[in-house]
């Protein structure tokens, strides 16, 4: 069984936000207007979190790309009253949108704040009609959504492997953000395979996870900068 995970090398990340753009296009993420944005109602499945390192005057501005961590022990699924979100066998945290009642317990419970609530009916400029991805459903008003590690791509990859009568290789499946990253700062693969790139990188000295002490065991591993 695969255990999908991601490694983000902060040394290589230039903060260009290509991952965000790729994610928006891939996953039919609704475009939210400026007034709604000011209320904090934008939806991003991957976001660049800015933070400052060090003490003034020796400070460094840093940017940290933050997708869903796909935790082994996610806080979000424990609070869901309707069982709309769960971890599957391959370690992906999924949402069944038709079950979600929009209570937003999960958005509050998630320590990484990766979950967004659909406050409005999804809208796109009319020029974008026909450019939506048919493999990803459109989330209506009143449900919560988040990064799925482009799970639909896994389904497609598995289909392709089956058609070619071979086993699924870890190279077959990569999320849109990893594919789009121009500085190759993101890696994706099987954490259960000890020889995969992600496994090797996750054992590096620079490797760390966000809020590790919470015991959520995220499957997104960061490689720290400037060492």
């Amino acid at each position: 069984m695969h255990k999908w995970g991601m490694v983000i090398d902060l040394d290589r990340c230039s903060g260009c936000q290509t991952c965000m753009a790729a994610c928006h296009a891939e996953n039919n993420i609704a475009i939210i207007g400026p007034e709604e944005s000011a209320m904090g109602r934008t939806i991003h499945w991957i976001e660049l979190l800015p933070y400052i390192e060090g003490e003034y005057p020796h400070i460094k501005a840093r940017l940290l790309p933050r997708p869903c961590m796909h935790c082994e022990h996610p806080a979000c699924i424990k609070v869901c009253p309707v069982g709309a979100t769960y971890v599957n066998e391959e370690g992906l945290v999924g949402i069944v949108y038709s079950r979600c009642i929009g209570c937003r317990y999960c958005t509050t419970a998630c320590p990484y704040t990766v979950r967004s609530f659909n406050w409005y009916e999804p809208r796109w400029p009319k020029e974008m009609k026909g450019s939506l991805n048919r493999d990803v459903s459109i989330r209506g008003k009143g449900v919560v959504e988040k990064c799925s590690f482009c799970h639909h791509r896994l389904l497609k990859a598995r289909e392709r492997a089956k058609a070619e009568k071979r086993e699924l290789l870890s190279e077959d499946y990569i999320p849109a953000c990893v594919q789009a990253c121009p500085s190759n700062a993101m890696y994706f693969g099987d954490l259960n395979d000890p020889f995969s790139t992600v496994s090797i990188l996750s054992r590096e000295r620079r490797a760390f996870k966000l809020l590790e002490d919470l015991g959520t065991e995220p499957k997104v591993i960061y490689l720290s900068e400037g060492m």
């Binding site: 799925s148 639909h152 089956k162």
Partner: protein, 164 residues
């Protein structure tokens, strides 16, 4: 008491009318297509529904496909003239959709037919032997129905396999 009873009677009558109307309402297809006849002539499913092996949907034939055989009148059926009329106006036959999935359910014909080797009749019944176009889906595609079959055939029964 009396007005209440009259109201109740009228209400029940209206309710019964709607139930009756609802259950007897069947969408009529624009062409009374005879699957059996076409099948007997040696027309394969894929001749008209050309995409089910490659794509998520199976597709309905364009009038041009019908015209390949029906260019010259080969039957005396009045519907043949209808198809010609559609083609002359540059229109496609407005078939009524019977099988529908909710937006967050992903269904792929390719995955079921080409990859899992299922037959059309598992979901569409003996459509190849039908003489009239179906007016309702052969099976109500409830989640239980899907999952029962997935369990039986040991297919992936994870939520994310269908809910994308």
């Amino acid at each position: 008491m009396k007005p209440f009873l009259i109201g109740l009677a009228i209400g029940t009558a209206i309710l019964l009318f709607f139930i009756n109307f609802g259950s007897s309402f069947r969408p009529e297809q624009p062409i009374s297509f005879n699957h059996k006849k076409h099948h007997e002539q040696g027309v394969e499913c894929a001749t008209c529904h050309s995409y089910f092996k490659e794509l998520t949907f199976s597709g309905m034939p364009k009038t041009a496909v019908c015209m390949e055989c029906h260019k010259d009148s080969i039957t005396k059926h009045p519907d043949e003239e209808k198809i010609k009329q559609f083609q002359k106006n540059g229109e496609e036959i407005p078939w009524k959709r019977l099988y529908q999935q909710p937006d967050d359910v992903f269904f792929s014909h390719r995955r079921h037919v080409a990859l899992a080797g299922m037959e059309c009749k598992s979901c569409h019944g003996d459509i190849g032997q039908s003489e009239k176009p179906p007016t309702k889906p052969w099976v109500k595609m409830t989640m239980k129905w899907c999952m029962d079959c997935h369990t039986k055939t040991k297919a992936n029964n994870d939520c994310l396999a269908c809910h994308v």
